[in-house]
């Protein structure tokens, strides 16, 4: 009985070559996304400027005793819920943005996605 082509040695090589040519990899697509930490303490985002790759996650952690939030600068794109003391919020970075705390507008930060 004749075996299906994918189960033969020649079929396996062909299959691997095809996967290589189409960009498929066994480890998934592209580099693994990272998680970055932004601490909110002493009424500042720290670091206030962060460079990340598309798809990376940014976690904001409020270490102050007062409530903060993280609001995209135009107020139109995205905004965290109020973050009481010791709470956190995360966002997957897709595009660059500047942001501020809507409760304390003197607190500002930026994420550069590249």
């Amino acid at each position: 009985m004749r075996r299906p082509i994918l189960m033969t040695k020649r079929g396996g090589v062909l299959c691997c070559a095809l996967m290589f040519l189409t960009g498929f990899s066994f480890s998934g697509a592209g580099p693994v996304a990272k998680t970055h930490r932004v601490e909110i303490r002493q009424m500042k985002f720290n670091p206030s400027h962060l460079s990340v790759k598309p798809g990376d996650t940014v976690v904001f952690i409020n270490l102050d005793m007062v409530t903060h939030d993280v609001t995209e600068a135009t107020g139109q794109s995205w905004k965290s819920p109020p973050l009481p003391a010791k709470s956190s919020w995360k966002k997957v970075a897709r595009t660059s943005a500047t942001y501020y705390c809507s409760f304390h507008p003197v607190m500002k930060g930026a994420i550069t996605v590249k």
């Binding site: 002493q42 009424m43 304390h104 507008p105 003197v106």
Partner: protein
């Protein structure tokens, strides 16, 4: 241990200088306060700004002023809660003293001024007072309450409050600047 219950004449001069509208001039010399008195003064100073915010929430129709007042009420309440939790942990009972009493007396005058205003006049008076009050409180915390605190945790709490007070001051100045442009 600094547990003197007396407040010196210098302290009264200092406070009168600090808490008069708009004045940030600090007199020379510091009073002697116990930690219980420092805690009382800190809680009183925070409560006063909550009271000012309550008047603003009642009288203002300006969205920016209302949001600022809400933030003041929430932030100063959070500070009071931290202070109360700390003094309970330390077994200290906040003790009324000449500093707290002077703060309350000056606040009453300010509240009367605020209640006598309305509309844009109220908004301007409230924000001008927030600028002056935060300038005075920052000076008092830095130059009086922190140096007078014997307990390290109380001192650390007061130090942690300073950046919030400074952010409030900058926020109030920002609104003041925008109002002056209208």
């Amino acid at each position: 241990m600094k547990h003197s219950e007396r407040i010196t004449i210098n302290a009264l001069a200092l406070l009168l200088g600090m808490f008069v509208f708009g004045s940030t001039v600090l007199a020379q010399g510091n009073p002697t306060l116990s930690d219980a008195e420092v805690a009382s003064a800190a809680v009183t100073a925070n409560q006063i700004d909550i009271d000012f915010a309550a008047i603003a929430e009642e009288k203002s129709k300006n969205a920016q002023v209302l949001k600022f007042a809400q933030t003041m009420a929430n932030d100063h309440q959070a500070v009071i809660e931290q202070a109360v939790a700390l003094v309970e942990k330390l077994g200290v009972t906040p003790k009324d003293n000449a500093v707290s009493q002077q703060l309350k007396a000056d606040a009453e005058k300010t509240k009367q001024q605020l209640r006598s205003k309305s509309g844009k006049d109220f908004d301007k008076t409230y924000i001008d007072n927030e600028v002056a009050y935060h300038e005075s409180v920052i000076a008092a915390v830095k130059n009086l309450l922190i140096p007078e605190s014997e307990n390290a945790e109380l001192r650390d709490l007061l130090k942690a409050v300073v950046p919030a007070l400074e952010a409030h001051l900058e926020h109030a100045k920002m609104i003041q600047h925008e109002m002056s442009g209208k």
